[in-house]
């Protein structure tokens, strides 16, 4: 359908649209017109992605001055989905406009692990290993040596790319990860480097949040993107956590020991290089003296605006020390080649935000390699003494650095440079396996952040780690408390930032947390053909005793028993798949073992198989697989998982995989956590967000997230059991997103388990009746109805305008009359 939306020619690839899709696009357009940010909530399963893409690409098409569409997703499957919709939209535009409509270059960007096509390298297990293996073949010094006849394996695809690909323009088209690989194989060019190079020419870019939010990665990738671009964060309900995590570092005893070993390795390397290639070390020293440092180039163009104009190829490829070393190594070759080499060497840029990086040369006392090594050794040793605590310590970065200065007599300033200085050194030493030095890099990361920031962070040292409670396993954590820090540069730099998800309620909290003021903030409800979600608030068992995971009640045998009875009941009346969410792993383990004692599990197993999420990703994936198989073959299954776990965030239980979702308890965060305490404290003092408000908000959004797992389209249906007496309270309940509340009538509140079961049976029977396709169509808008809606909207606005004036006039007149009377 091609529609005229408030003056914009929108290409929408389907013949029908839901009313909320129309509204969504209208709101989106308003914020683009105003060149402002927006916050939009739209229920899952209503085609949010297609609206975003269809509107923004149409907008780009009509207003070529708008830069790129940068679409940030959380996972690779989401990326795929986005590309799929994009292909549909552009395909439709081509049908409408001919080849003119097809002129778009869109691509996905991901790590080497997802893009590499080198047979041996992709065999590597994890991301870091792939990166390392690739660097072994593509680092500038490796290639130089090979060129000089020194042997060593090179990657043919990288060579192919650097020979031709870096200058060649990519033909227009929409490239998913697979398409990129396909294209790369065909041409013999490395898809990873090609994609990295091409982003500046693309109209649409799809990549992970990290590429935008994590300063280490963003500095490398997103620096050059034009400010007129539109940035979309999809599924953004947890964006504040992504932001804080991007600036947080954990160090434990083991990693600190490993860091010491790294330093040993480095110092022997330094000694060796001193013997064999003193010149190289000197060259580095000279660069640092003249302020050209690793960070030198990075900083020259490091302003938020990214004024890379004069910085040349090396800086364009962006990466801290990579730029410098690469430029040095391949000095003399053409600009293009320089860029290529630099891109290959690029390793993460500075962990601090660009605006906070000092625009100075590296201080003198860490310029020499051996001085820097001994500096780092002192830092590591100090961290080691700090981490050995018997009770929890929590302090500000300022206090932490102060104490460090007193104990070690180290200065504050070199700390800020630790990360970039280390990068420069690793490059000089021609280290490719960065993986091996990860612990040391983490320490440098920690040092840089703790030296740079005094506000919005906390250093928390805990004697027991998170993995196994009770075991002495001290962790030192630099926790970012302020989500707005990491995202501020994005808001400041780009014209429009769209934050959207199925669960953003309550809408006024996000602007506070992220520190921005949206021009549009709207939550859209769901237009329905039938009541496809049936939320039931179950507060009591059949014996009328309350059910809750409240701290003082959770271990109560009656609660455990009643939850068990509910489970048995549901296993009997719900067909195929059921998903249950518990508030934490430990609570789930406790309940499952008690259920085993009570014989609950045995009775559930008569009806359905049971699968459990564990902290082990592989195990969980396997369990999920088997769960789905059991649902497919009619045996039926229950998946027990944890709110905030991997499953709750990313796995869909659509159709028969999730006919019911059960929330056992309200998923509050573990409030005794010191990091959380510090964050709450910070939120209260800085943003005036009350502790309780934040905790409730956070718990309910997790809950809504879990609910959203089971409804992925309008023809789908699902039962939602909220099993905790606290859900009945208005302050909790009312924070659920509108598309859940609209189905939550009075009669669904405060139910006992047996009432709920009766209701559930009826719901499932009703939903099993065939859905009349005519009625489904009836709720949707076709071209005609869209036109009518347009007219209605504009009509209303005009009327409003004309109403305003006469009424104002009347008011004035009335006032005059009164005055007059008084005078009389």
């Amino acid at each position: 359908m091609r529609l005229d939306l408030d003056g914009l020619d929108v290409f929408f690839p389907y013949d029908f649209m839901y009313p909320e899709q129309y509204d969504y696009m209208l709101e989106l357009k308003r914020s683009l017109d105003a060149k402002g940010h927006c916050l939009l909530e739209m229920p899952t399963g209503t085609g949010k992605t297609v609206c975003l893409i269809s509107l923004i690409t149409s907008y780009q098409f009509a207003h070529p001055e708008v830069g790129k569409l940068i679409y940030c997703t959380r996972t690779v499957p989401e990326m795929m989905k986005c590309i799929e919709e994009l292909k549909r939209v552009i395909g439709y535009r081509k049908d409408q406009l001919g080849p003119e409509g097809e002129k778009v270059l869109a691509l996905c960007l991901s790590s080497r692990r997802n893009l590499c096509i080198h047979e041996r390298v992709i065999e590597e297990s994890d991301r870091e290993a792939v990166d390392g293996a690739c660097r072994d073949m593509t680092a500038s010094w490796v290639r130089k040596k090979a060129e000089a006849g020194g042997g060593g394996e090179l990657c043919e695809f990288f060579e192919g790319y650097s020979a031709n690909g870096s200058d060649a323009a990519m033909p227009n088209g929409i490239y998913s990860l697979d398409d990129l690989k396909e294209f790369g194989k065909e041409k013999g060019w490395c898809p990873y480097f090609l994609a990295r190079h091409i982003i500046n020419h693309a109209n649409v870019l799809v990549y992970n949040y990290q590429y935008m939010l994590d300063p280490k990665v963003a500095g490398m990738v997103s620096r050059e993107l034009e400010a007129e671009s539109v940035v979309v964060f999809d599924e953004a309900h947890n964006i504040d956590n992504v932001c804080t995590e991007a600036l947080s570092v954990d160090l434990d005893k083991r990693s600190l020991d490993a860091a010491s070993r790294c330093l040993g390795k480095i110092s022997s390397k330094v000694a060796e290089m001193k013997r064999t290639d003193q010149a190289r070390l000197n060259a580095e020293y000279q660069r640092l003296v003249s302020g050209l440092a690793d960070s030198g180039l990075g900083r020259a163009s490091g302003g938020v605006a990214g004024s890379a104009a004069g910085a040349g190829g090396a800086a364009a490829a962006g990466g801290g020390g990579g730029g410098a070393a690469g430029a040095g190594a391949s000095a003399g070759s053409g600009g293009g080649a320089t860029e290529v080499a630099a891109a290959a060497d690029a390793i993460p840029a500075n962990p601090a935000l660009p605006a906070d990086i000092l625009q100075e040369a590296v201080p003198g006392n860490i310029r020499r390699a051996e001085h820097f090594v001994s500096f780092m050794r002192k830092v590591v040793e100090h961290f080691k003494t700090r981490v050995r605590v018997q009770s929890v310590e929590s302090e500000t970065p300022l206090a932490f650095v102060h104490r460090m200065q007193q104990v070690t007599a180290l200065e504050r300033k070199p700390l800020k440079f630790a990360y970039s200085r280390l990068n420069s050194l690793l490059r000089t030493l021609e280290v490719t396996g960065l993986d091996d030095f990860r612990p040391l890099v983490d320490v440098a990361d920690f040092a840089t952040l703790v030296g740079t920031y005094t506000e919005g962070f906390a250093v928390v040292i805990e004697p027991t780690g998170s993995v196994v409670p009770g075991v002495y396993e001290p962790v030192m954590r630099l926790a970012c408390l302020d989500a707005s820090l990491a995202i501020r540069p994005v808001f400041e730099r780009f014209a429009s930032v769209v934050i959207t998800s199925g669960t953003l309620s309550p809408l006024d909290l996000y602007p506070k947390l992220l520190g921005f003021s949206p021009v549009v903030r709207t939550a859209l409800s769901m237009s329905t053909v039938r009541k496809c979600i049936c939320p039931l608030v179950v507060t009591r068992g059949s014996d009328q005793l309350p059910m809750s995971t409240k701290f003082d009640q959770r271990d109560d045998p009656s609660v455990v028993r009643n939850y068990g009875a509910l489970m048995i009941e549901l296993a009997a009346i719900v067909p195929d798949g059921v998903v249950c969410f518990f508030t934490s792993y430990s609570y789930m383990e406790m309940i499952v073992s008690k259920w085993d004692e009570l014989g609950v599990l045995k009775r559930v197993l008569e009806k359905k198989l049971i699968f459990i999420e564990t902290k082990d990703v592989v195990e969980t994936t396997l369990a999920l697989d088997n769960f789905k198989r059991a649902c497919d073959c009619g045996r039926g299954a229950i998946f027990l998982s944890v709110a905030r776990g991997k499953v709750a965030e990313g796995i869909d239980f659509d159709r028969h995989y999730g006919r019911a979702v059960v929330m056992f308890g309200v998923p509050f965060q573990y409030t005794l956590s010191h990091v959380l305490r510090a964050r709450l404290e910070y939120l209260r003092s800085t943003f005036q967000i009350r502790e309780g408000d934040f905790l409730t908000f956070d718990a309910i959004r997790q809950c809504a997230q879990c609910i959203g797992r089971v409804i992925r389209s309008k023809t789908d249906y699902g039962l939602v059991i909220l099993a905790d007496s606290r859900y009945n309270r208005h302050d909790k309940r009312s924070k659920l997103p509108g598309w859940v509340l609209q189905f939550l009538d009075e009669t669904h509140l405060n139910m006992s388990a047996d009432n709920a079961a009766a209701m559930a049976r009826m719901f499932l029977k009703d939903m099993a009746q065939p859905l009349d396709p005519l009625r489904l169509k009836g709720t949707m808008l076709d071209t005609k109805k869209v036109a009518a809606r347009n007219r209605e909207k504009t009509g209303k606005e005009q009327r409003n305008a004309s109403e305003l004036n006469p009424s104002a006039a009347a008011a004035a007149g009335g006032g005059g009359a009164v005055d007059g009377m008084e005078i009389e």
Binding site: A572, I573, V574, P575, D576, G599, K602, R603, E606, K607, K608, C631, D632, C633, G634, R635, G636, R655, H656, R659, D754, N755, A757, A758, R761, M762, L764, K765, D766, M767, A768, Q769, P770, D772
Partner: protein, 412 residues
Amino acid sequence: MDAMDDHDDNDGAGYAWEKGFERTWEGVEEDEHGNIKTREEGQRRNRRVRRRVGGESIKRGMIRYLYLAIDLSKTMADGDMRPSRLAVTLRIVQDFVTNYFDQNPLSQLGILVTREGRAEKITELSGNPKAHMEALTKDSDTKGEASLQNLLEMACTSLRAVPEYGNREVVVIYSSLSTCDPGDIHETIAKLKTHKVRASVVGLGAEMFVLRRLTEETSGDYSIAGDENHYRESLMAQCTPPPTPPGREGAMFADLVRMGFPAETQDVFPSLGYSGNRQELSVSGYSCPRCKTKTSELPSECVICALPLVSSPHLARSYHHLFPVPQFDEIPAAAPAAAAAAASAGSAGGMGSGAGAGRATEEESASSSYCAGCLRDLSGLPRYRCPECRSAFCLDCDMYVHDSLHNCPGCC
């Protein structure tokens, strides 16, 4: 362990008042005009819609080989239908069997059940309505879990042997919400598909994915019974022969089918004759034209020589599937004022020219406010008009004409 089992038994025989309340008032809704309509009416209109999906001139097979496969697992003892699912099921199956042979006199039927994870054959394919019901009522204990795969496998093996010209069908009555299978059920579904067995399911309780899949793959129907009436309707719908699957038309005409038209006999003294598989004494009966065995009911199958025995009216009746009554057009209920206006406009036209008058009468009959079937007042109700003779009917008469009468009273 023992305690556990005890509990289970209680579960099975739970009291009706423990099973949650019946919310009859929730079945009542108001329509746009404030008229009260019940959920039931909505369901019937749905059914009309469903029937429409079937389309008009479809080839239907007159000779069917159908297995009725009944889930006799523990869930059949549930009390969500009064007095129990099983009792209701037996009642409805009884009617189904009678109705099936009534409408498909040339067809055969057999009964399978599943319980304790196994499948059992209660009766072989045959044309004796009585024999089936006798066997089923004798052996209808509910026990253990259901196994859909075993059930389908058994049906498939048995149906593979039937002649090519017949329709192979399974109608499953499924009460459980899960199945305990020895292997991959999707292979069994594929097997049914290759052997051209059509599987339809009437489910109780809720929708199950495998059943949906099964019916989609084999182009059968899947309905979930909302209540007893809907249950009955859903099962009875299976009495109408399904459309012949594409690719099988050729086979339809390949064979001639041998059948007997027995003469009615009246004895002076009661003599032994077959009724189902049992012998009983009766005065009147029919004697098989081939072996002269006396049978007391038609349609059936000669117990001795297995000749299908029918009477000619039976044969005639099964023609209706081949010449169905056309679908009636639905005309939504006009608001009373509009209807009146239309009527007055019609009469105004009637005073004009002759040609106009002709049209006006037709118009008038269309908007005339009485049902051509039962003479009910139709004002304010939706009406259904025969496209051939343009008589209007009420919903009830529409259903009756299409489901039972198979003739439009207006046309003939």
